[in-house]
Every structure is written in structure tokens, then in C-alpha cells.
Amino acid sequence: MGQFAIIAGQIFNGVSVGSILLLIALGLALSFGLMNVINMAHGEMLMVGGYLSYLACKVVHGPMSLLVAFLFAFVGAALLGALLELTIIRWLYGRPLDTLLATWGVSLILQQAARSLFGPIGVEVVAPSWLDGALSINHGILSGLSMPYVRIFIIALTIVVLGLLTLFIGRTRWGLYLRAVHQDREMAQALGVNTKLVDLLVFSVGTGVAGLAGAALALIAPVTPTVGQNYIVYAFLVVIVGGLGSLFGTAVAALCVGLISSAVQMFTSVSLADVFLLLTVIVFIQFRPRGIIYARSRSMKEA
């Protein structure tokens, strides 16, 4: 394995880790940026997506099972998100601390429910055979580099989701409403936008994408009741570094976090890489407290 192959391999790993973080953080960025809701149960949507894809793969077999599993995970997590919004979050707007506590409670309930239903040990989603193996390069300066198809698939999935979300926000009517509510909630309301419906939609789409992330993660790691806990902190980190309310900023931040942690891991250990990452973020926030890209909005004037 040559020098370039190692560097290229680590960049690939970084992008791969970053793409999973991005899938998780997209939903948070939407709900946090738009509704100012800190959803502690977001990690559990990841877990729910993982278990749903496990169930789907048990029922449907064959090469297309994964597609069904992803659809199932997205719709299931989105419905659960909608339920959460309708029953809890809707009633606690403007009380961020209460929402934080309530959603944390929901996260504990969901974890214990998963433990009771599926047992404490993780379940396994076996990737279909067309995702086995890796793209290996045997010639030239990158000789020795191998990129697992599973990780390439996850990166591709992330790009597709990011593209669809950008189109949804930039080109559709509901996207327009969303931007209007984001810029000025009262004015949008005065002009006839049903802000409650917009909130519900955005929150469900966000949790749905988290469910999708869970299904993707299940291809490379086991699905356990606590899988969400491993990722929720990084997802918040990405959202804060990226800047509130900017999908592009979130994407850049996820990529940076992935690349930095995978580069630092090569020179030190996994634990030290985490320390370095947190220190970097703290320093970064000192200079750019509003993140990489700061969307101007009246609702956040006071923030």
C-alpha cells in the first residue's frame, strides 16, 4: 500500500463517516434551525430506522429487499416523528428546556421499548450480495486502495438525499413555505401559511431521514437499543458547526468532522481523535459562533 493509497483511503473513510453523520444531522438541522426544537430523541429515530429495516429484510428477500427496507425505515420513522410532534413537541413551543427534557424522556422510553421487543443484544441486517466486496485499485499510484461497495453505496445515498432535500426546499411550494416560516414566522402566518402544518411536515421529514440513516448504518454496524446514543452528540456538533438553518453548511460541517476524525485517528487513537475533534470545534465556535454558513433570518435576530 503506497503513501497516496493510504491518504486516499483515509479521505474515502472520512467522507464515508461524514456522509453517515450528515444523514443523521440533516433532520436535526431542519428541526433545530426552523423550529428551535432540540430533539433529544433524534438518535432513537436512527435506532427505529435500523430495527424497521431489520424487520423489512426478514419479510422481503432478494436483491431488492434493501429498497423496501429503506422505504419502510423512512416512512416508519417519519410517522413516529409526526406522532411525536403532534403529541408532545407541538405543545411545548417556545419552551426549549421543556422540549429537551420531554424528548429525552421519549428517547429513554424508546430505548427500553427496543430492549424489551428485540432484546439487549443487537440484531443484524445482512447486506444483499451485490453490496459485498470492494472496489480495488491494483495499478498506478493508488495501488492497494480498496473501497467497500457498502460505503460507496452510503455515500451515494447521502448525495441523493441531500439533492432531493435541496430540491424540496428550493423548488416546491412547501419548500417556499418552509423558507418563509424560517425567515419570519409571524409574517408567514399573517400571509396565510399554515405554520403548524409546515412544522409537522419538516419534523417528520427530518425524523424520516434519520430513519433512513439508521437503515444505512445497519449495513455496517449492528442495530442495538443504544445505537442512537453513539451518534447524537456528533450530529449536534455537525449542526452547530454547520450553522443553523443551512443544509449546505451542515453538509460541509459533516464532511469536515468525518475527515478530521479519520485523519487524526491514523496518527493517534480513537479516543484521542474525539478529544481533538471537540477541541477543534470549541476553538472554531469562538471565531465563528454562528457556524460555517449563517443564514440571516429575523426569527434569530435575538439569538
Binding site: 463517516v17 439487549p120 443484524e124 449492528p222 443504544t226 480513537v270
Partner: protein
């Protein structure tokens, strides 16, 4: 009127309960504690050890109990939390007045219970392999010491010309100590350590570590990764195109039970080292497997810690008979003086340092999750809590 009626009913119930409770004590009972994690992340492993412990108690009761008394297990849940293990141990000793406790799995849970057993002069039977470097007169260590599991595996790897070793573990006391011992022995025997990496417990991303393994090009990986992280490690290794034929993985925290839960195809071809495999052929093992499956279903899988949990009870009963008393001090002294006996593991007996003489096996996982023995030590090995290279000058003397 109704209230009075109710009160009478309550009284009647209480009276019946009191009567019921007093009946068994006439029939002479003795209580023992069974303390394992029945919930939380460790439940997958510990629940079955509890089962085999109860099986042994049933068998002894069926043949007349100990010293004419029926053994009554008091089962408690350690909830995978060392602090709860410590609380429950105290509860068993003080409130339930048990004469001894069978339990524990993680080294953290053992370390948390140790002061409780020392303070109340009670006795814990600990059934799992561990890192050594501990020697309490209030614990009977039946699981393997390092010289009965990881070091024989290292010898086996060296005999097969695999001298470039990559050490990988979860980040806590057992892997760190095990690797400290392994490193000393690798260097002493002319091998090289081509890397040493740790992941947090429950960690799922092995991409950087796999790249490091690729660069280091070791002959073999010694893995003390524990729990769910193993699934991520083996999956990502396979996805990176590394097969067990190219790079054998020796795992010290995966037995038949974990292999079944992880998916047997993931670990097939990999190596492991224990003092017992379900595939061992001896009459005691055949009887044990038959009895366990009769009680807990024919799909049950047996593994090393379960058998240790089982033999701990049998040895305890034999020691009580020899001592003629349930007193923990008398029992532990009698236990180390018992003659060597046949067990599902082969010939065993407790050494003077309260750890178990037992045979070491190195095995290879078959596609069905069972293990084929590829090497075994010549007879039972003396247990050695303090490795001479890693902890020079320390020795285990129980009072």
C-alpha cells in the same frame, strides 16, 4: 362492614403466607445468592450462566441437597451496572443471609463486589475468564487466568509461524491488562507487536483501525474487543476484503453463545481460546449438555462461562460436605483441598490460590458456530494470577 371483611381477608392471607414461609424452614433449607445481569447490555451472556447455575442447584437438590439441607437460590439482577452489583451483593449477604454467592461477569462488576465480600467475610464464585492481577481470599476464581487462555493462544500462533501480532481491544481494564501481558511475552519470544489499538466499548467505526491493520500487515490479530462492537469489526473487515484465511483473528471474548448471536458466518474460520467448548467429547460433558437442553430447550447453545457457573456450584457443594459446615472460611479452605475430579471441562481442581487448575484449548469456529479444537495443553494448567513478566515480584497468597 366491607372494611372489616377486607381486613379479615388480609389477615387470613398474611397468616397463610407466614405458615407457607415457615414450612420450608422446617424441611431445612440453605440460601445461596445467584447474581447476574438479567437486563442491560450484558444480559445476553449472563442470563445463560444463571441458567446453568440453577441447573446445578436442581441436580444437587434432586440427590438429597447438602448436609441434609435443600439449596434455595435467591436470584438478583445486577443490571449490567457495577454499582448495582455491589448493592445487590450486600443485600444478598445482609438481608437474605445467603451462605455464598455465585455471579459476576465483567471485571468491573467483580471489582465492585470485591470490597463487599471482604467486608462481610463472605464468598463469591466468579465464573469468567479475566485478566488476573487480583487475588482475594473472598473470591473463588474458576474462569481462566491469562496463563490458561491468552498465553496458550499466543504460543499456538507462534508455533504456526505467526509472530507479527496486532493487538486490538475495547478500552477498559481487561483488554488493557491482557495486552500488557501479551506484549511482554511477544517481545520475549522474538515476535513483534505491529500495532495496538483500542475502541471505546460499543464503538462502531473501525475504518481507521482497518487501514492501520492493512498498513501494518500483521500475521495475526489478537482481539479483546467485547460485545456488539465485534459485529461492526467483523463486518467492516469483510467489506474491506480481508478474509480470515489471509489474516486470522484470535478473539477472546467470543464463545459459541456470542457467535450464535452475531451470526455464525461472520466468525467462521476465526480462532478462539477457552477452557471448554460444547464440542468437547467426554461423558460428563455429554450428560451436562443433555441435562441443560432438557431443562432449557434443545436449541440452547453452551459455552465456557456457563460450564464454569455450573461446576462452581458442584465444587461448592463438595467443599461444604468436606468441611461439614457452610462457613465461608471453612468452605474455601476445603475447596482447595478437594481431589481432582472429572467435569465437562476435563479434570479440574482448585489450586491453593483459589483459582482453577484447567486445560487450555485453542479452537477454530466452524460455519455452524461450533468450535473445532486445534490445540490443547498437556493436562490441566496451574492458574497464575500474576504473570511473572508483566507483574514481577507479585504473588498470590490467600489468608
Amino acid at each position: 362492614m366491607n372494611q372489616v371483611h377486607n381486613r379479615f381477608r388480609k389477615l387470613a392471607i398474611v397468616g397463610c403466607c407466614a405458615l407457607l414461609a415457615s414450612v420450608p424452614s422446617l424441611a431445612q433449607e440453605v440460601k445461596v445468592g445467584v447474581l447476574h445481569s438479567l437486563s442491560g447490555t450484558m444480559a445476553i451472556s449472563e442470563d445463560t450462566v444463571k441458567n446453568s447455575t440453577l441447573l446445578a442447584i436442581d441436580q444437587i437438590n434432586a440427590s438429597g441437597g447438602v448436609l441434609g439441607k435443600k439449596i434455595v437460590p435467591v436470584i438478583e439482577d445486577g443490571s449490567s451496572d457495577p454499582a448495582i452489583f455491589s448493592q445487590k451483593a450486600q443485600k444478598l449477604i445482609q438481608e437474605d443471609k445467603v451462605v455464598t454467592v455465585f455471579g459476576g461477569w465483567t471485571s468491573a462488576s467483580r471489582k465492585a463486589m470485591l470490597p463487599v465480600f471482604e467486608r462481610f467475610h463472605s464468598l463469591l464464585w466468579y465464573p469468567v475468564q479475566f485478566e488476573g492481577n487480583e487475588c482475594s481470599s473472598n473470591i473463588m476464581y474458576s474462569g481462566a487466568q491469562p496463563n490458561q487462555q491468552i498465553l496458550p493462544a499466543l504460543d499456538y500462533a507462534f508455533q504456526n509461524g505467526k509472530k507479527k501480532v496486532f493487538l486490538l481491544g475495547s478500552d477498559y481494564v481487561f483488554p488493557r491488562t491482557a495486552n500488557l501481558i501479551l506484549k511482554k511475552h511477544i517481545l520475549k519470544n522474538g515476535g513483534t507487536v505491529s500495532g495496538e489499538e483500542y475502541v471505546p466499548l460499543g464503538g462502531t467505526d473501525f475504518s481507521a483501525i482497518i487501514t492501520k491493520i492493512k498498513i501494518a500487515k500483521p500475521d495475526v490479530v489478537f482481539s479483546t474487543v467485547n460485545g456488539d462492537s465485534n459485529v461492526s469489526f467483523f463486518k467492516q473487515l469483510a467489506a474491506a476484503g480481508i478474509t480470515q484465511q489471509q489474516l486470522p483473528i484470535f478473539s477472546f471474548s467470543i464463545a459459541e453463545q456470542e457467535a450464535k448471536a452475531m451470526g455464525t458466518s461472520l466468525v467462521a474460520g476465526g480462532f478462539t481460546a477457552w477452557n471448554y467448548f460444547e464440542s468437547l467429547k467426554n461423558p460428563k460433558n455429554a450428560a451436562f449438555i443433555a441435562a441443560y437442553k432438557a431443562k432449557y430447550g434443545k436449541d440452547a447453545v453452551l459455552d465456557d462461562p456457563m460450564v464454569h457457573g455450573y461446576i462452581d456450584v458442584l465444587v461448592w457443594a463438595a467443599a461444604v460436605k468436606k468441611a461439614g459446615s457452610f462457613d465461608p472460611d471453612a468452605v474455601r479452605k476445603a475447596a482447595t483441598q478437594l481431589a481432582s475430579t472429572a467435569s465437562p471441562l476435563g479434570e479440574i481442581r482448585f489450586a491453593e490460590n483459589q483459582s482453577l487448575f484447567q486445560t487450555a484449548y485453542v479452537g477454530q469456529f466452524l460455519p455452524d458456530g461450533q468450535v473445532k479444537v486445534v490445540w490443547q495443553s498437556k493436562g490441566a494448567l496451574h492458574p497464575d494470577p500474576y504473570d511473572a513478566l508483566a507483574f514481577p515480584g507479585k504473588s498470590c497468597v490467600v489468608k
